[in-house]
């Protein structure tokens, strides 16, 4: 079977490398990464790929839509991959955040392993992003709680442990997060000084 030529449109170098790694596991392909959005249509037309993979939320997707519609005699018809017979795969791809444009006539069984590999990588990105956001939020929470504790210690002459206990009790009484109570306290203290 001939090697498939795949283009990955991805600005972030780190992400692009990870996608390429994932795709290589699914088979021997000729993979090109395009990381610049200028001249995208021309670059893709020059390469004549079998499959183009791009983030669902990438604004440049509309450029690919135009390529998909172009049907000059020298051009190969391309279409966004939406397969009625395998709706689950399409849905999985879009939910993971990857869209695929495939050349007309490419066998579905050749597309599937590639899409599966891309979906797996995109899921990983989501997880990493969610983890990063959670870590960041936790850090923010800690900072604000520390400031609230300091305010309480100073205002009421109590130690750190007592200050935290007070915050926690208030949060429990009000059915709120400790960080939210701390936030309110810091804001109110800001107004009073």
């Amino acid at each position: 079977m001939a090697r498939l030529s795949i283009i990955v449109v991805e600005r972030d170098r780190e992400r692009a490398l990870r996608i390429v790694d994932g795709l290589m596991i699914s088979g021997d392909h000729a993979i090109t990464v395009i990381s610049e959005e200028t001249g995208l249509a021309r670059r893709i037309a020059d390469q004549k790929p079998d499959i183009v993979l791009i983030d669902v939320t990438d604004p440049s997707r509309d450029v690919l839509e135009e390529l998909a519609l172009a049907s000059g005699p020298m051009e190969r018809p391309v279409a966004m991959f939406v397969d009625r017979s395998d709706e689950q795969l399409t849905r999985a791809a879009i939910e993971a955040g990857v869209s695929a444009y495939v050349v007309d006539g490419l066998q579905p069984d050749r597309i599937k392993p590639i899409l599966d590999a891309a979906i797996a990588r995109f899921h990983m990105f989501h997880k990493m992003r969610a983890e990063l956001a959670a870590t960041k939020a936790a850090l923010e929470d800690r900072k604000i709680i520390d400031r609230a504790k300091a305010i309480l210690m100073k205002a009421r002459g109590i130690d750190e442990e007592a200050a935290y206990a007070l915050l926690r009790k208030t949060a429990m009484d009000q059915k709120r997060r400790v960080a939210d109570i701390a936030q309110q306290l810091v804001m109110a203290a800001g107004l009073l000084t």
Binding site: E37, T38, T57, P59, D62, V82
Partner: protein, 395 residues
């Protein structure tokens, strides 16, 4: 009262205002709804989200549901356009090289004269490589593409022009880097290119066609059919927001709301230009006043005339080699004047006697008879005086 949540997709543009205002100013809550407004990055994403059920309704280019119905997109459930959200708001912008050459010919960039602008462009065509005028539009199926091609139809320029899709936020860069020579886009992206020093405003979309429908409220036929009550509430909430947006003195407030980080995330001063019809044509601050540059309501702007669908389908069918009567019929079928009448009658919307008309026949706003009493239709003439009769196209 518990509010019914609806997920609405929008692409960050000035003309997303009806959905944003409906939520922010309480028109949605008034109808027992709360909008979860989802910012999307491309029209392809909007179409896919709606097709896959990721959103309940979308702010969408008017020709996009037509193209879907003509089979020019992925196989998704049928889309319906239930009301027009805005008319106008587009501008044609030219590169620095073209602007210099046009000024050298004595063109004054008045922004409102399509014939003067066209002949100036013709005279300056030496500023681009021979036989190659590249014009950017936001999407292959867009009112912008219709406006540009109509403007150049029947001239030498029509043989030289090629239309290229460029995502609006990238248009200023595409112009600056010489990827395109001009573009047609909705605000605030035309003003953004001016502000970046990349382009000069040449012509308002409304100068080419007095009432070019720009965005519509689009949902799946399945949603409109199975959730008629929510469809009606959604339409009324958005329709009232449109009416508010055309109220005197509301545009400044609208600019403030739209500019917030969670929506357009641009300085209000920039967003305001199109909304107030006070546009800077160049970075040196030449201001042009264009009253009614964008309309959200007045002149029956929201009515989804079936004849508009037929008109927009004509060029798409021609470009893609589709049978014209077939395309006309299918296109008209997705503009739901029936739902507009059914759901907006109670809100007090003006309802015209017919659901299709001869497009381009009104040189100025005209009083006509309506379902009840009379109503005012806005001007809808084309600059070239063409009129379009959908009955003729369908035959």
């Amino acid at each position: 009262m518990t509010l019914v949540p609806l997920r609405l997709g929008y692409v960050p543009l000035t003309d997303a205002a009806p959905l944003i205002v409906a939520q922010e100013l309480g028109f949605a809550a008034e109808e027992g709804l709360v909008f979860d407004l989802i910012r999307l990055q491309s029209w392809a994403q909007s179409r896919d989200m709606l097709g896959m059920g990721g959103i309940d309704a979308a702010h969408m280019l008017v020709p996009l549901p037509i193209a879907q119905r003509l089979g020019l997109g992925p196989a998704y459930p049928d889309f319906d356009l239930v009301m027009v959200l805005s008319a106008g708001g587009q501008a044609i912008v030219v590169s620095a090289a073209l602007a210099v050459a046009m000024r050298a010919q004595g063109h004054g960039f008045g922004f409102d004269d399509p014939l003067a602008a066209r002949s100036a462009l013709s005279g300056a065509i030496g500023a681009v490589p021979p036989g190659r005028l590249r014009v950017g539009v936001p999407f292959p199926f867009s009112t912008q593409a219709e406006l540009v091609l109509r403007w150049l139809d029947g001239t030498d320029l029509a043989d030289q022009v090629s239309i290229h899709t460029v995502p609006p936020p990238l248009m200023a860069d595409a112009l600056a880097s010489g990827e395109v020579d001009a573009f047609c886009v909705g605000e605030p992206w035309a003003s953004y290119a001016v502000e970046r020093g990349a382009g000069t405003l040449l012509l308002a979309g409304r100068a080419i066609w007095a009432a070019p429908p720009e965005k519509g409220l689009v949902l799946t036929r399945d949603f409109a059919g199975t959730r008629p009550d929510d469809t009606g509430r959604l339409m009324r909430a958005v329709w009232r927001a449109c009416r508010w947006l055309d109220g005197p003195d509301n545009r400044g407030t609208a600019a403030e709301i739209l500019s917030r980080p969670e929506y357009l995330n641009l300085p209000p001063e920039l967003t305001e230009r199109g909304l107030l019809g006070r546009l800077h044509v160049s970075a040196s601050g030449e201001v042009r006043h264009y009253p009614g540059f964008i309309r959200f309501h007045d002149g029956a702007a929201n009515f989804p005339w079936r004849s508009l669908a037929a008109l927009l389908a004509r060029r798409i069918a021609r470009q893609h080699g589709l049978d014209l009567p077939w395309a006309t019929e299918r296109a008209m079928d997705c503009f739901r004047t029936d739902l507009y009448r059914q759901h907006l009658r109670s809100a007090g919307a003006d309802l015209p006697g017919a659901s299709a008309r001869i497009e381009g026949s009104l040189a100025q706003a005209t009083v006509v008879s309506a379902e009840k009493g009379q109503m005012i239709l806005g001007a809808d003439a084309f600059f070239d005086g063409e009129t379009f009769d959908p009955a003729f196209a369908a035959r």
